[in-house]
């Protein structure tokens, strides 16, 4: 896979990593306390003679157990601490980053930031750094997850692969756990800190000519059951044996939450004020107009109980809840401080770390759900396609928001209200605004995990007139 789909993705990933990255391989690894983070930040701020200085600290430990062919083939752990310094000299700003925290290295990173800043022309519209802010309290650190050991993960994997082998199937997947702490401080007295754990289990179960997939993640590993996920993937692999080839074309499609997530995730940057001002958002000239169905409403909400990540943005501004789409009408955008000033509105706390050219992005999307269960969607369909997940999605037309991609690991033909057979996988070319205008049924919104988007709270959807353009050979 060649992953970079937009030039801004690096900056957005950096922001998103604060949601998900890190976690100790063993409990003995030390995640700094807020007091320790504050002490390090103040030590760095004292080294700077810049007009203004900002310090970002990220610390954590991650561990991941990977299995394939019913055995563990990769088992890794990492610990890291990273210090990033942004200085401002006479209206110019730049960033330097290091993972070396001895006194000499910290002095050097402060100096490097200053040298970079002074090498450029003045930045028009650069705002003074913000002062102290108040943040929502979110609890996303769970001791059980932080203390997970390689043995804990290996035992869970061993149980799952033993059951898979007993069924004559083959399993591949991951079990990852981790914890992280981060802080953002500046010379105006702002200090923000966040601690979080994470856990993720993903499994693909294969037979000779079929496969099934399931994945879940959460800051709290007790929120998912690896054996239940494996059982679901196993059933899908068994049900999709001897897949039929059915003709591409316009179909009614039932999208499980993971499939919805990876499709609608491509909309997130379109809600950035900077994207609209740059005329590269699909909402350019469409704000306030009905571009989706009346049953579609979504917001960005870092405080939602199924969401994750820190309650502040890359400049330390508090993340606010923003209603993005109401009954199919795009109502609001998100704004970093500088673009908010240019567009004569207020910042919403969604800015990326400065300096950057992308501005901001909502990364805690929450869709309103409905009441129709996945089983009811199937039961009420005469003829439809049921999709577990979609894959290798890329933007074909940025303004009509047409995406292409493939179905994968559990694609089924539904006939007369029942899953009739597995099918060979399709390529789709589908406009997302068009798709969200054709949603016939919505399931309850859940925290979904995919591979191509940030984790979101989304419902399963039944969509009419979904465009499959070609079919592949398996």
């Amino acid at each position: 896979m060649t992953p970079t789909r937009k030039s801004f993705i690096k900056a957005v990933r950096k922001a998103a990593q604060k949601k998900v990255v890190a976690g100790p391989a063993v409990a003995a690894l030390h995640i700094p306390s807020d007091t320790e983070l504050r002490g390090l930040a103040e030590r760095i701020l004292r080294l700077s003679d810049a007009d203004e200085t900002e310090v970002e600290i990220d610390a954590g430990a991650d561990a991941l157990t990977r299995f394939a062919n019913n055995t563990i083939h990769q088992n890794v752990a990492e610990q890291m601490l990273r210090v990033s310094v942004r200085t401002v000299f006479d209206g110019r700003t730049a960033r330097a980053t290091t993972n070396k925290i001895d006194d000499e290295s910290l002095c050097r990173v402060v100096l490097a930031s200053g040298e970079l800043a002074r090498s450029q022309p003045k930045v028009p519209g650069l705002l003074p750094m913000p002062g102290p802010q108040k943040y929502l309290k979110v609890n996303r650190y769970f001791e059980d997850t932080a203390e997970a050991t390689p043995q804990d993960r290996a035992r869970a994997v061993a149980k799952v692969v033993a059951a898979t082998a007993k069924s004559g199937q083959t399993a591949a997947g991951i079990f990852a756990t981790g914890a992280s702490a981060m802080a953002l401080a500046n010379s105006k007295g702002l200090f923000a800190a966040h601690r979080q754990t994470r856990a993720e289990f993903s499994i693909t179960i294969m037979e000779q000519d079929s496969s099934g997939w399931a994945k879940s993640n959460s800051p709290d590993m007790r929120q998912f059951d690896p054996e239940a996920l494996a059982a679901s993937a196993s059933r899908k692999a068994a049900t999709s044996r001897a897949p039929r080839e059915v003709a591409p074309g316009r179909w009614t499609v039932i999208l499980e939450p993971s499939a919805v997530l990876d499709l609608v995730g491509f909309l997130f940057y379109d809600f950035a004020g900077t994207a609209v001002r740059d005329q590269r958002s699909c909402f350019n000239k469409r704000m306030g107009k009905k571009v989706m169905g009346a049953n579609i409403s979504l917001r960005d909400d870092v405080a939602h109980p199924l969401q994750s990540g820190p309650p502040f943005d890359g400049e330390g501004m508090p993340r606010q809840q923003v209603s993005l789409v109401e009954s199919g009408v795009p109502k609001n955008l998100v704004y970093a401080r500088s673009i908010a000033k240019k567009m004569k509105t207020k910042p919403t706390g969604h800015g990326l770390s400065l300096p950057n050219e992308s501005g901001e992005a909502p990364i805690n999307l929450v869709f309103d759900g409905g009441t129709t269960s996945l089983d009811e969607m199937v039961a009420t369909s005469d003829r439809a396609i049921l999709l577990t997940r979609v894959w290798y999605i890329r933007e074909v037309d940025p303004y009509e928001k047409v995406l292409t991609g493939m179905t994968r690991d559990g694609s089924f033909l539904v006939e007369n209200g029942k899953v009739a057979a597995g099918i060979r996988n399709f390529r789709f070319n589908q406009g997302i605004l068009e798709m969200l205008s054709n949603v016939a049924q919505l399931g309850p919104a859940v925290r979904a995990a995919g591979e191509e988007s940030f984790d979101m709270v989304v419902p399963a959807m039944k969509v009419n007139n979904f465009n499959f353009s070609e079919v592949t050979k398996f």
Binding site: T2, A68, I72, V76, L116, A172, R280, T404, F474
Partner: protein, 485 residues
């Protein structure tokens, strides 16, 4: 730094590891970008750390740390051994590797101008000048430029006695003009899209790209696309210029030949491969004129897949992947080479940085040049579409069915380029596509493109890969599926 790797190896040995290799990596990055005449991003990043990979109880363990102290390194090595013992809880058989010699060596890729020694003011001035040239053209809504430099220094030691020091200097740059008009967004990039061109080279690469000279053309084409005719649908002859062909090679040859993928190790994420092992030496992957190699040696060129030793201490090699159309080779490592009858690894293990486990990665997967002059190829073509510069790419998880779109296309009629076309796309099945190739341009038109952002693995790693290609012609290719209403 080798003292740290030695300490890690010794700690692992004492703890019971039967094999270990350790790397210390020191990475320095510089990123510069502009947008609409203003500096966008301006940052430097450095990262230093150590990782150790071990076999204990017949299973793998890996740990990484940025604490380069005696206690930090010993704890990291001990942790790797503990993880390996945990891995053995779900073991089917012991890990076995094909033999490899020990090497003691030092290597650095050649470059003329150290990009980190070039004043930032000069680098920014070049980007701002290219940015201004694009904005001079009426109708451009966004002008963007970028430049990236990466210096990676690595010290590698293994329990079989290798001690290898390598330094790699990488440079890259590109420009993009985006236009919004009516209900359509178009863009043009130079020298390629998604970051431009990247090679193992110094600042001389940036100077040779001459971004400022190409900026007006890029901007003019981005504006002109709005009034261009739409690319036709249906079955047509297709000519691909070399950067798009480089990505086609990456997706439909480079990934399917990764042996870890073939064997199911990537099944949960990146996927598998249609190139199952019984196809080796039997499958007609392509037409007779198609020859593809995986070549990590410096003599192949300054590609992002060029090195002296891979990250498990195996020397750089050239492997025939497709020879006169026949599928002849995989990308392998010490653990899986024997599965396809090799007694030695193909030397393709690489890790993004100190904190990642090495895995099989593309080196320079290149289509060898043919005999056609570019103008002769156009003159020889009655009716075709010539496509340039990737805009979107997607392929299924077994690497059969693909769809690409490009930023721009040109109609070829009667042996001449007659008009610009917009919204081009093509799709097909990998082996059918490569078997339809009937002309490949010569060495003079061959470019070793760098793809700096190839993602693979869990946790996902980003790696640079190289792809040499010259323009080539393909018959009876399906066009237009991406934009069909």
């Amino acid at each position: 730094m080798l003292a740290w790797t030695d300490l890690a190896l010794e700690t692992a040995r004492v703890r019971g590891a039967t094999f270990a290799d350790a790397r210390v990596v020191d990475v320095r990055l510089r990123d510069l970008s502009t947008k609409n005449g203003e500096v966008g991003g301006l940052s430097e990043d450095e990262s230093l750390g150590l990782s150790i990979r071990v076999i204990a109880n017949g299973s793998w363990g890996f740990a990484a740390t940025d604490r380069l102290t005696k206690e930090g390194v010993q704890a990291c090595a001990a942790q790797a051994v503990a993880i390996a013992r945990a891995s053995s809880l779900a073991k089917l058989h012991d890990v076995v590797m094909v033999p490899e010699q020990a090497y003691v060596d030092t290597w650095q890729n050649p470059f003329i101008k150290d990009p980190f020694a070039i004043p930032l003011e000069r680098q920014l001035a070049l980007l701002l000048a290219a940015d201004a040239e694009m904005r001079r053209i009426k109708g451009v809504t966004i002008s963007e430029t970028s430049m990236q430099f990466r210096r990676l220094e690595q010290w590698y030691s293994s329990s079989i006695g290798s001690r290898i020091h390598q330094v790699k200097m990488q440079s890259g740059a590109g420009i993009v003009a985006t236009t919004f008009s009516g209900d359509e967004i178009q863009k043009r990039s130079y020298p390629s899209s998604f970051g431009g061109q990247h090679q193992l080279a110094g600042y001389e690469l940036i100077e040779a790209l001459d971004l400022v000279a190409h900026a007006p053309r890029v901007a003019e084409e981005a504006v002109a696309l709005h009034k261009a005719a739409r690319c036709p649908d249906g079955e047509h002859t297709l000519i691909l210029e070399s950067s798009q062909l480089g990505l086609q090679i990456h997706e439909s040859i480079g990934h399917p030949i990764e042996l870890d993928r073939v064997l199911g190790m990537e099944a949960n994420f990146a996927g598998m491969s249609f190139l199952t092992t019984e196809k080796l030496g039997k499958l007609r992957y392509a037409s007779d004129i198609v020859n593809v190699v995986a070549d990590a040696r410096l003599e192949h060129g300054p590609g992002l897949g060029t090195f002296a030793y891979d990250d498990e201490g195996v020397p750089a090699q050239c492997t025939d992947i497709i020879k006169q159309g026949l599928f002849t080779g995989y990308l392998s490592n010490r653990e899986n080479a024997s599965i396809v009858g090799l007694n030695r690894s193909g030397g393709t293990m690489r890790a993004e940085s100190w904190n990642y486990l090495p895995m099989i990665r593309m080196t320079n997967i290149s289509l060898l040049p043919g005999n056609w002059g570019y103008q002769d190829l156009i003159a020889d073509t009655d009716d075709a579409v010539l496509m340039e510069t990737n805009r979107s790419w997607s392929i299924d998880d077994h690497r059969y069915q693909f769809q690409f779109s490009t930023e721009i296309a040109w109609e070829i009629k009667g042996g001449k380029k007659v008009r610009m076309l917009k919204n081009p796309s093509y799709s097909g099945i990998t082996t059918e596509f490569w078997n339809s190739c009937d002309a490949i341009c010569s060495r003079e038109h061959w470019v070793l493109w760098g793809t700096p952002n190839c993602g693979k693995g869990q946790p996902m790693q980003t790696m640079g890969t190289g792809h040499g290609a010259s323009p080539a012609r393909f018959r009876k290719i399906k066009l237009g599926a991406a934009f069909a209403k």
